[in-house]
């Protein structure tokens, strides 16, 4: 085997991907000089699959994909991946135009009222640019690739919960459109992307659009949480046989760690955003506090999310760099094991560095010093990764293709961005640099450096996704223009670092540098015209590619046709002999799960998706879309409420009806979703560490609950923090009488017990027992809510309102969040009861079990809320 295997695309059509090892495709990127991967042509007919599978492989995708209906109802991970990529590029354009507006305004130092943007318009542009780019472009762009590539790399037919995956996308789109709508509601949020208190309150950002922007973020976080649960379940439970985590391709590794960080970090953001929404919509008093409990509380909650977020957006780029470097140097990444260990270390450390964003606040010096140490410490694993990447280039033989150039460019830019960040991690230097363009330049070198690698990823996987090759010359031109534009835009910001951030006034001597930056902004932005032209044109008449156009690609996505058929693989992928091979489906998983046909709210349990494709012409569902449309309306409606009262006049009526219609649509769609028969792929067919023997649904539920722990943790943390700020012991519980709380503890404990009895009855196939126990649960749950309503009523009558003080705000909001969980649980219990009347759950009691896990968790939360808010 030599590097000079002449086998190029198309050269070996018709003799590849037999049911045996696919040449060169080792689990993790294999050996340095593995054989050239095969070519093969794009038409699926030569895939030698046995029996029933071949029809599904060849016929299923293409006819339907041209219809709008297909794209609205698809649940296939590859379709969802494409939807993510296309949508995120739209938000890149939106964020880019906002950036252009800013750069035009910054052409020269201006007084208020000069230039194309007014003062508030500029604030909106700055805030919206940051929010759109960070939330609606960067991560979703990366998750387009994750959706498309990760299941292929790990040998899964699809994600564990395909309908939840579609839901993630549609919620993402809904949230993005909601954000766009906020511009037309008097103006969007104008308080900066960090949304610092108290600027985030209606006193300072009074527009309805500001509410909408924050609610849009809430919806976005919901989408991210759904996606995290789905990816984690999939990646831990559905890897091909022999594909242990040690052998997992490096891009998949980067996504796995990204998703773990997402699960916990975004839960903290959700807590922050829900408290903020409550302050704005209900009028609670968290962030108006003038003690540390106000502004500092926000910064803690926000940056506990915000710093892991930096790595959440950067890790996929890192994974692409490593993947692309391997492919275009023909060499496995140097120190692969250490590279992965370094990523794991960063993912853990990312949760203990957040206070370096708060060096100029009133937190004490001891904690600042500690966080300086952790911050400098987190640069060490990054050093290791950077050197591993560089050494891979040294050891390999580089092929300067477009994906490589972008990945390499991304690395160079990241090095500069990373080093300038270390300056900011030092407390003393941060005193000087904070709030200047040094910060702006630094994080653009990091984040847009990441984007550079992601663009490389787009070129890299474009042939896989479209089955056609892009124009290499135009790709290189794009890189050249992009790289020049990038440095022209951001490097002058280091030079003109004394420019204050977020405003358009600066010392006149820096004007030439800002002019340069503005020119760079246009060059950078326009470079994408070349890309869009190239990719659009190539998608229709580019040269066809076979399985892979790259000589040294090794990961499994390149072992299947481009684009891959709906079911991905011609057999069950296995790495048991160290190479990728496909085993016959009938022999391995036919009929193993035939009895598990019942459906459930979380995406259903499944029989084998392949064999079923013959029964179900459509493998789609309209309900994810319907839920998202409903959520859009609901949140749009909620935006019309300010501190407890609806906006006046016709607009108020509009908002109210939107909320009602949206809420009903969400509820109805969820029920229809639960009833709809749907077959999701099952896990556990290969590697499932560390969740061997636990089915997908249960793993998903536990992962979701872990994120809910952080959500409640954020709320309880906010309470503890505020109370510490107020002096702990001087703070009296809001309800003077702990007895109603104690009664509720009894009720909830009893309802947990009845859920246990329901499960026992289901296991004994005792229908009456299931019905009776569920009924008792519902009665007890309603009793809990009724008792609480009475208690609150009493408090309101004695003048204790949620808006009165911070004490009452924390009491009502935290227990209110818990009550909302109880209500959601009751809706689930009602659904289970309805189905159990018809005799459901006797053969498959898993829905009852999963509901119980949730219900007991809500019980546990109350076990802590009760003493915290009633006794202590």
């Amino acid at each position: 085997m030599t590097d000079e295997d002449p086998t190029g695309p198309e050269a070996s059509a018709g003799e590849t991907t037999r049911d045996g090892p696919v040449n060169g495709n080792e689990a993790d990127g294999g050996t340095t000089d593995g054989e050239a991967p095969d070519g093969g042509t794009v038409t699926g007919e030569e895939i030698p699959v046995e029996g029933a599978v071949s029809d599904a492989l060849t016929a299923s995708t293409h006819p339907a994909r041209s219809t709008v209906r297909h794209w609205l109802t698809t649940t296939n991970h590859k379709d969802v991946g494409i939807l993510y990529i296309v949508t995120s590029l739209f938000f890149l354009l939106l964020g880019g135009v906002l950036a252009w507006l800013m750069r035009i305004q910054l052409w020269e130092p201006r007084a208020v009222g000069e230039g194309i943007l007014g003062a508030m318009a500029y604030n909106q542009a700055v805030s919206a640019h940051g929010l759109v780019m960070v939330f609606w472009f960067l991560s979703p762009f990366a998750f387009g690739f994750a959706n498309y590539v990760v299941p292929l790399q790990m040998g899964a037919d699809d994600l564990a919960f395909p309908r939840l995956n579609a839901l993630s996308f549609w919620l993402y789109l809904s949230s993005g459109l909601l954000f766009v709508a906020s511009f037309f509601q008097g103006g969007t949020f104008a308080g900066g992307w960090t949304m610092y208190a108290p600027l985030n309150l209606p006193t300072f950002t009074p527009d309805v659009g500001a509410n909408t922007a924050i609610l849009a973020l809430v919806l976005f976080v919901v989408s991210v949480t759904v996606s995290s649960v789905n990816f984690l379940t999939t990646m831990h439970r559905m890897r091909a046989e022999g594909l242990t985590l040690r052998r997992l391709p490096i891009f998949s590794w980067s996504i796995l760690l990204t998703v773990w960080m997402m699960l916990f970090a975004f839960a903290a953001l959700l807590a922050a955003l829900l408290i903020l929404s409550s302050d704005r919509i209900l009028g609670t008093a968290y962030f108006v506090q003038e003690t540390a409990g106000g502004t500092l509380l926000w910064t803690h909650l926000f940056w506990f999310f915000g710093h892991p977020e930096v790595y959440i957006v950067f890790f996929p780029a890192l994974g692409i760099m490593a993947e692309v470097f391997q492919t275009f140097t023909g060499r496995r990444i140097v120190g692969r094991k250490w590279f992965i260990a370094a990523m794991v270390l960063v993912a853990l450390q990312s949760f203990v560095v957040w206070m370096h964003h708060m060096f100029l606040t009133g937190i004490n010096l001891e904690i600042k010093t500690l966080f300086m140490v952790t911050t400098i410490g987190i640069s060490l694993p990054f050093d290791l990764m950077v050197f591993a990447l560089i050494y891979t280039l040294v050891k390999g033989r580089v092929r300067f293709t477009t994906p490589f150039l972008f990945a390499f460019g991304g690395l160079v830019l990241f090095i500069l961005g990373g080093i300038t960040g270390v300056f900011l991690g030092a407390i003393v230097l941060d005193y000087e640099f904070r709030g200047t363009y040094w910060v702006v330049a630094h994080f653009h070198y990091v984040m847009v450096g990441g984007v550079t690698a992601l663009v490389g990823g787009l070129y890299y996987w474009f042939p896989k996704i479209t089955g056609r090759m892009y124009d290499e010359f135009l790709g290189k031109v794009h890189f050249a223009v992009y790289f020049v534009g990038f440095n022209l835009l951001y490097f002058p910001m280091f030079v003109a670092w004394e420019t204050p951030r977020r405003v358009f006034q600066y010392d006149a001597w820096m004007a030439p540098w800002h002019k340069l930056a503005t020119v760079g902004a246009f060059i950078l932005g326009l470079s994408f015209v070349i890309m869009f032209y190239n990719l659009t044109k190539s998608a229709f008449d580019g040269e066809r590619v076979g399985n892979t156009p790259w000589e040294f690609s090794r990961t499994a996505e390149w072992a299947v046709p481009s684009p891959p058929p709906t079911g991905n693989f011609p057999g069950v992928p296995s790495y048991s002999d160290g190479h990728l091979s496909f085993r016959s489906r009938e022999a391995t998983d036919g009929g193993t799960s035939a009895e598990s046909r019942s459906t459930q709210a979380d995406g259903g349990v499944a029989v084998d998706a392949y064999t079923d494709e013959h029964d179900h012409a459509e493998h789609g569902s309209v309900w994810p879309l319907a839920v998202s449309v409903g959520a859009f309306l609901l949140f749009l409606g909620l935006s019309g409420i300010r501190e407890g009262s609806l906006v006046e006049g016709l607009a108020g009526a509009f908002y109210l009806s939107a909320a009602v219609v949206g809420g009903l649509l969400v509820l109805g769609s969820l029920v229809s979703w639960a009833i709809e028969p749907f077959d999701a792929p099952e896990g556990g067919f290969g590697e499932a560490w560390p969740f061997d023997g636990v089915e997908n649904g249960k793993v998903g539920m536990w992962i979701f609950l872990a994120s809910d722990v952080v959500l409640f943790g954020g709320f309880i943390g906010a309470y503890v923090f505020t109370r510490v700020a107020a002096g702990w012991v001087g703070w009296q519980p809001v309800p003077e009488d702990p007895v109603p709380g104690l009664v509720n503890t009894y009720l909830l404990l009893a309802s947990s017990f009845t859920v246990v009895l329901a499960l026992v009855a289901a296991q004994k196939e005792h229908r009456g027992g299931v019905v009776a126990s569920l009924t008792a649960t519902i009665v007890l749950g309603i009793g809990f809510l009724g008792n609480k309503a009475q208690e609150w009523q009493h408090l309101f009558h004695t003048g204790v309102e949620p808006t009165a003080t911070i004490q009452t705000s924390t009491f009502f909001l935290t227990t209110g969040l818990h009550a909302a969980h109880v209500i959601a649980g009751l809706i689930g219990a009602l659904y289970l009861l309805g189905r159990s009347l018809g005799g459901a759950y006797l053969t498959d009691h898993r829905p009852v079990e999963y509901f119980g896990l949730y219900w007991h968790f809500v019980d546990i939360v109350w076990l802590f809320l009760f003493p915290l808010f009633y006794i202590l």
Binding site: A292, F304, M355, I716, I871
Partner: protein, 86 residues
């Protein structure tokens, strides 16, 4: 049937310790002593519910660890943030 008995016994223990928690409050102990006992009782009940009602005791330990990671994150946030303003 033994399972049902076990669950019933646990329910009884939970019920009693919830009552105990309120009695501690009225026992006139020093604030931080009472605080310690009350929080310990909550933790005890939570562990019982998780171990038996959510049957984590009988599942692979990895599920428990996942929840502990979330708990660790929440505690890190709460404790470090509170310490930062002391």
């Amino acid at each position: 049937m033994t399972h049902t008995k076990l669950y019933t016994a646990i329910f009884a223990v939970l019920f009693v310790s919830a009552t105990l928690q309120v009695l501690v409050e009225f026992a006139g102990l020093a604030y931080w002593t009472a605080f310690g006992i009350i929080v310990a009782l909550s933790a005890f009940k939570a562990v019982l519910v998780a171990a038996y009602f959510q049957h984590l005791r009988f599942e692979p330990r990895s599920l428990t660890y996942v929840v502990f990671i979330g708990l660790a994150a929440a505690l890190a946030l709460t404790l470090a943030a509170s310490y930062s303003i002391l």
